[in-house]
Point group: C2
């Protein structure tokens, strides 16, 4: 018998919504229906996830008018061209403002379906039904939606809060090991950003997480979601503290873009980005070597890559300078004052960044 | 010596902005610069408008880093494919979150550039510099942005308020007659929606407006903008009263989509839509024949079409049912309780709509 789901809430006035985390939620039709508007529905999923979980979701939506849009799987499909396919399905299914999009899948499906919902008829409801660890702890929460542009990751997008997030822990049973590990990178990131105790807990529990112990996974997801929920509630549109959640991401986006989308899993690039952020923080004198090694070691124990590909110093600067966090020509970085305490700053010694890029990516 | 510009304001908290209406505003660099963020700029315009007014705008932006994206002219280009061209320019020009898009042109440029700004890096600033009467009184104000989908007009879009609207009345000097008249359709619409006195004024002043008398045009623009500003301020995201501004538009969108985008000017289709809305209101017993004829006559005197193309009853229903105002399967219409008093309703005798479609478009 599964324990009852845990529920967190994102409090944003009229845009508030619940996050439910538990086993078997895709089969809980009543809970899902209660969060959806009355109109026609479009489920967006991919060729990997749909065969596994779409029948379960369809059963939960019995009696509703439900269309489907099944996309190819992978980050390389997170493009305007794929978004256009979703629009075509929305039109064919005659989805109006009282309809909704249901995003069943990982981060790519959630980001892309979320952007379709944000822009179809200037915004319709979107339910996020994340089926990967990364999507459950990170991308499904907070309303960031996007597709990639050849020039950079997530350059085209919108803020559009979902109407509900249902994280069904049972879907993690079919998640490939590589994707489970990629999700752990975002969990570790949350701990590094603002919770040293959680970091210590992760250092102890990593073996159980990799062994997919259900209760341990549930606790990790819940703690990571709680951190993200608190930060998003305080700063919906990333004018301040929310940028902390991008720890490691400016580096990660450059790595993903340089390698070509789909080469690295996002979480893998984030892992490398976390190491580079820790290294830069060490060059600034904020972290000691033992702390950098603690970050690296935890990521390695989680089965994640910690060495940057040699994309070249100039290419790294070029890609980082198109990142959304650039203001006034200066690359703003999220760095670590200490483990569990991230800061966003454009006011750092550029020589520290330069030294890290020369050492790690040149 | 031009009179000083008139200024209205849209009060939406953090998203408030001014609308300046006056002769020579494109040459007023100080006013424009004051409303723009500090980063790089991209001017979006088209092949008709750019040769006429881009040099003036460029001179006003002397000293700023300004890139250009010059699009083909016309509604048929208001597509995702053209939007992608704007994204490519934004990327090539390395426009970041502290940058801005400047939309120099008519409704197509404003809607498309506005959507690009709304979605580039999840939203950057957008200055609207409308150069057509229609854009000055309607599309540049209120933050509605969109491109068309083959299935319907403006189906893909976002709400994204501009940082400033500068309506330079001098640009109307080069506006083709057909476009001036199309703009008058939206002016007449504003009067029909909520200002009988303005309607009476228009009935008197139509000859002077068609003769482009500067003071009369300025007054018409100012009064229409004031109506639109008041309604948008009260209902930014069209949950209520803002839908009144769509008087005639459900019909108009069906006519435009059926004919193929570019066949009708938007304002021309709106003129026909206003007649159909008045006819439907008459069938419901809300307007008498003399009032319907008053609407038709004013539009005719403004040089606008008042006869619907025979797109067929079924095609009309099909296109109208994909309109954004459909809720619960029912086509909500904006109708006239009286001249100067529009209402939004889904609760009308469907036979009245049927009779009008049979008589006018079948």
């Amino acid at each position: 018998m599964a324990p009852p789901p845990l529920t967190l809430s994102i409090d944003l006035g009229a845009r508030s919504y619940p996050i439910h985390i538990g086993a078997g939620l895709l089969g809980d039709g009543a809970r899902l229906m209660a969060a959806l508007p009355a109109g026609r529905l479009l489920v967006v999923s991919n060729t990997t996830v749909a065969p596994l979980y779409l029948p379960r979701l369809r059963a939960s939506l019995a009696g509703r008018d439900v269309a489907e849009c099944i996309l190819p799987d992978g980050e390389s499909w997170k493009t305007l061209a794929t978004l256009e396919r979703v629009y075509d399905r929305l039109a064919a299914a005659r989805i109006n403002r009282d309809g909704a999009v249901l995003a069943l899948g990982g981060g790519v499906v959630g980001d892309l379906a979320g952007l379709a919902a944000a822009t179809w008829q200037r915004g319709i409801a979107c339910a996020q039904l994340p089926t990967t660890l990364l999507a459950q702890v990170d991308s499904s929460i907070g309303g960031k939606t996007a597709v990639n542009h050849p020039a950079g990751k997530n350059l085209i997008g919108a803020f559009h809060q979902p109407c509900v997030v249902l994280a069904d822990l049972e879907t993690l049973a079919t998640l490939p090991d590589r994707e489970l590990k990629a999700g752990l990178a975002e969990v570790i990131k949350c701990a590094l950003v603002r919770d040293l105790r959680f970091l210590e807990w992760l250092e102890r529990e990593i073996p159980r997480l990799l062994a997919r112990d259900a209760a341990t996974l549930a606790e990790a997801i819940h703690r990571a979601c709680a951190i993200k929920a608190a930060i998003v509630t305080a700063d919906e549109r990333e004018s301040g503290a929310r940028a902390l959640l991008n720890l490691g991401h400016t580096f990660a986006h450059a790595i993903e873009a340089a390698a070509g989308y789909g080469e690295w899993l996002h979480g893998e690039a984030v892992a490398i980005g976390l190491v580079l952020a820790a290294e830069t923080s060490a060059r600034l004198g904020w972290l000691g070597r033992p702390e950098v090694e603690r970050v690296r070691s935890l990521l390695e124990r989680a089965g994640l890559p910690v060495r940057a590909p040699r994309i070249g110093r100039e290419r790294a600067y070029e890609l980082m300078s198109l990142d959304k966090k650039v203001v006034g020509g200066r690359i703003r970085l999220v760095l670590l004052k200490s483990l569990g305490e991230a800061v966003v700053t454009g006011d750092y010694d550029a020589g520290a960044l330069e030294a890290v890029l020369v050492a790690e990516v040149a």
